[in-house]
């Protein structure tokens, strides 16, 4: 709330013209193509898109965990004004626990099955904070209590497999927050969980980040989760940002034809329709991205220019949209303001 009202002059994280590519034997595939966005301190930015839209890759690039052969082809990533995309592995690793925490989809892969939860928490805390063994343990117990694990002082000595899926994801959240990072990258944190657990985890992430003023980049395919959690949303399509803006604006008054179709295709309880709005076709494969706007073959409103020239993000209302339909509006706004 407070964060989105008055963004501070320097964003916490800034991504400029990021391009992620995969060299293959049939040429270089561009998975993320020239995207830019910023996250203010304490802000929750949701990144939505369908599988293959490049949202997870963007998250991985920020924390420096792009899997080879994927690589950053162009652009820069700045954390508190400092470039982090060209850092050597060791320094990046330090940033990754201390200043950026990470939460992944599958809690099992983020926890080492051979160590107790406590050992992993204490090790991470002591790597990043100047604390002794007992102080670190006390902090670990505190953290586990904070993320809602009952009997934390006892459970701290248990192994990951002794926790249920939802509890494990809580441990992962504790692990991500233990060095008090300024920012958390959460990649599909609730996708592997049941609906009732999902709601618990979402409200937990929201509460913790509000209390600590931590910024969150929340990567998910679930519009519902975004609507509940995020301050702003970036909608990705075929490696590009189609639309970015305040969550109420994007969810209720979607501007880009893709976002519009996407919102209409979500079934809702109490919303009686015979057929859902559907966007025909599917997202193009990386080697078949059309020229011009990547969405043009599926777009009901496409015109000649969309097939030739790629639109960049232009202001429209309180959002920014990469769509030629809004060019006039953007120009007027520029002249008027």
């Amino acid at each position: 709330m407070t964060a989105s009202d008055e963004p501070s002059d320097r964003p916490l994280l800034e991504v400029r013209n990021l391009r992620i590519e995969f060299p293959t034997r049939r040429g270089t595939l561009v998975a993320v193509d020239d995207i830019s966005f910023a996250i203010a301190p304490g802000e929750v930015l949701g990144v939505v898109g369908e599988s293959g839209a490049g949202k997870s890759l963007t998250g991985a690039a920020i924390i420096g965990l792009l899997e080879p052969p994927g690589r950053i082809g162009a652009g820069e990533i700045l954390l508190e004004g400092e470039r982090i995309d060209k850092l050597p592995y060791e320094e990046l690793r330090k940033i990754r626990g201390k200043r950026i925490g990470t939460i992944f989809q599958d809690p099992l892969t983020s926890l080492n099955p051979l160590y107790t939860v406590g050992e992993q928490l204490i090790e991470t805390i002591r790597t990043h904070l100047p604390l002794g063994e007992t102080e670190a343990r006390a902090r670990a117990v505190n953290l586990l209590e904070e993320v809602g694990i009952p009997a934390a002082d006892e459970r701290i000595d248990h192994y990951p497999h002794q926790f249920s899926g939802g509890m494990r994801q809580r441990v992962v959240i504790a692990l991500a927050l233990c060095a008090e990072p300024r920012m958390v990258v959460a990649d599909e944190p609730t996708t592997a969980l049941d609906v009732s657990i999902q709601a618990q985890i979402i409200s937990l992430i929201k509460r913790l980040c509000r209390e600590n003023g931590t910024a969150v980049m929340l990567v998910t395919h679930d519009m519902g989760v975004i609507a509940e959690t995020a301050d702003r949303v970036a909608v990705m399509y075929a490696g590009r940002i189609a639309e970015i803006g305040p969550v109420t604006e994007v969810v209720k008054h979607a501007k880009h034809p893709y976002t519009h179709g996407l919102m209409g295709s979500i079934p809702a309880i109490g919303h009686d329709v015979d057929a859902l709005t559907q966007i025909d076709g599917s997202m193009p494969r990386l080697n078949e991205i059309p020229t011009g706007c990547a969405f043009n073959p599926r777009c009901p409103k496409a015109f000649d220019r969309c097939r030739v020239e790629r639109p960049s993000l232009m202001p429209a209302g309180r959002s920014s949209v990469a769509c030629w339909l809004y060019e006039d509006e953007a120009k007027e706004a520029a002249h008027g303001g």
Binding site: E50, S51, S164, G165, G166, M167, D194, V195, S196, I197, Q198, A199, Q200, I202, S203, H221, D222, M223, G224, V225, A227, E228, V247, T248, V251, K252, G261, L262, G264, S265, I266, P267, A268, I269, G270, V273, D274, A275, L276, T277, Q278, I279, D280, S282, M283, R285
Partner: protein, 353 residues
Amino acid sequence: MAEATIAAEKPAEAGNGNDMLLEVDGLVRHFDVSPPFLNRVLERTGRRIVRAVEGVSFSIRRGETFSLVGESGCGKSTVARLVVGLYPPSAGTLQFEGVDISSPRARRENPTIQSRMQMIFQDPYASLNPRWRVADIVAEPIRVHRKGVSRTDVLARVGELLRQVGLSASDGEKFPHEFSGGQRQRISIARALAGEPEFLVCDEPTSALDVSVQAQILNLMKRLQKRLGLTYLFISHDLAVVYHVSTIVGVMYLGRLVEWGPTKELFGAPRHPYTRMLLDAIPDLEMSGRARIPVAGEVPSPIDPPPGCAFHPRCPLASDRCRQEVPKAVGSATAAVACHAVEEGRLPPWHGA
């Protein structure tokens, strides 16, 4: 055996008035996940039985969509597999148009019934044989059930089926890996329709798909249901999808149906505390800012379910009776709820959606 003789008399009755296509009564399925005998002796442990389905009864009317909804591990997928005969039930009966098909033997004796039901699976990447061409995949039910059809006729029918699900006839020459997830699910549907079934069991057919593709598949399934007069058993964990497609909804928790009823009634005025909890947990797209009651606890293991009502450890209304006695479903065949609190009138009014 006794059931078989009774069943033999039933079809006449089924013809006039009784339009129940599938009737499931007291269905039970346990899985033995015990370690091998020697380990059990050495480690002094007993058998470990997963009680996946623990007495489920429902019936599906011709042309309707019956949905089973619940969280992972509640047994809904097992019910689907019991219905199509992938597992034999441990107890209980299954009747298709009044004919008993509970045992594998009964199924073998009624091959026409098996050919009238088909299944659509969850994972479009695993449900098509990667080494087969799409035309062969779609043609498989035709070749199995309608022997002696000429090759050209089969190919013509395959082309027709592919067009029916929104693909082109020439796609038959390709292999599954050349298609996206949504297109593969269309191929799955074409294969399911190839044997001209009346009854389709759909096990989470859209949960592996993106929302925009999910909309395409749901629309397609609805269109096909209307055109071909299909009956669906629809399995899903997504309440919004279930609301969109179903006529009747059954809510499962730890192997039991806790509440069922016509879709609008169930979602408009849910009675079982678990149904209410599920509805409350859905993220709010309307952003009305309604405060959600966070639900505590998780689904217990079906190996060692709690005594009494299985939901009692998470239920805000649990009483001593709930902890001891399994509640019976109270209501009619079309709408019922299995909850002591409802029975005793202790249920607070629903806040409404």
